[in-house]
Symmetry: C2
Subunit: 202 residues, 2 copies
Amino acid sequence: MKISELARSADVSIPTIKFYLRQGLVAPGRALSATRAEYDESHLERIRLIRALVDGAGLSIAAVSTITLALDHPPPSRHELYGIAQRTIPALHGGHPVDDTVRELVAALGWDVDDDAPALHALSGALDAAGSAGIHPSPEALERYARASRHVAEVDVDLVGGAPSAGEALTTVVVGTVMLDPVLSALRRLAQEDVSARTPER
Amino acid sequence: MKISELARSADVSIPTIKFYLRQGLVAPGRALSATRAEYDESHLERIRLIRALVDGAGLSIAAVSTITLALDHPPPSRHELYGIAQRTIPALHGGHPVDDTVRELVAALGWDVDDDAPALHALSGALDAAGSAGIHPSPEALERYARASRHVAEVDVDLVGGAPSAGEALTTVVVGTVMLDPVLSALRRLAQEDVSARTPER
């Protein structure tokens, strides 16, 4: 299809597509002449992914660029899939030092995670930020949050198990993790309403 | 304390504090003269909260303003606490129509939630966005995510149970929900690593 058809199908403007092409977020089309190129379903799919990451998950173009770069260079095997995904997915507090509270939590849970996993930094920074906002969950509350999060992760890993190749598995981990965070936030808010409706007022 | 001391204690600039005062995010100090005012711990606490919401949870000043406005006008009782919180906390996809999938999920779970709860719209929009990015969790996967989220919500509601007044309960619900979303995201990523390390490759 021509770039005008691509724009119409993806519901974005032609200048937007040209911007994505210049930034390397979308692969060039097959050149038909010096000024015309042919695009296919893979281009349409990529543009839809970019729009979903930007509009649906609120990511910046820089964050999307890190993701598409990783997806364009998938790992040869599934080994370290979640390690690569963690380094690909944008996180607040990436440079925050890992707190003792977080080390103790992981030890108490007996979780098998890398000593320098980006999520350890993100967790420390997020807890620190919650603390400055006056929210201090106890170690017991944190352990309960962690066990609930592990149930979420079990579903995540099952979803990825069905992917036929390491490249598709990476796409599912990265895109699924990013796109389902807002789904989980919304489910948490609905569940709060239900739990609260069934809890007698104190 | 003077505005200069407030700025130093909160680690923000004086122009930033003046901006918060103009926007109504921070209450005026006690006037000492036409140009000088006295600030106290409550002002310091509020500025720390604003910084945590902006830097720690990535909220916009407009979203923070909605939150501080609600916190400054707490409800007389805890009735409808989560309803107020849901309308206060910024959510993507607020205007998205509620999908049948979402109605069916809530019915299958038997959850007691308002027919027009903002989180129903947010959930529909987030699932729609995930779908355009190629992520389609099955109804079974969604139910598992929902049950895990309910465990999270049980901890949330327990944290709020300890708040002495409706105002403090609202602060805990709103600030706790917003500030702990990044904590839960980080826990999910760590848990993925652990679950994956213990799952044989398929």
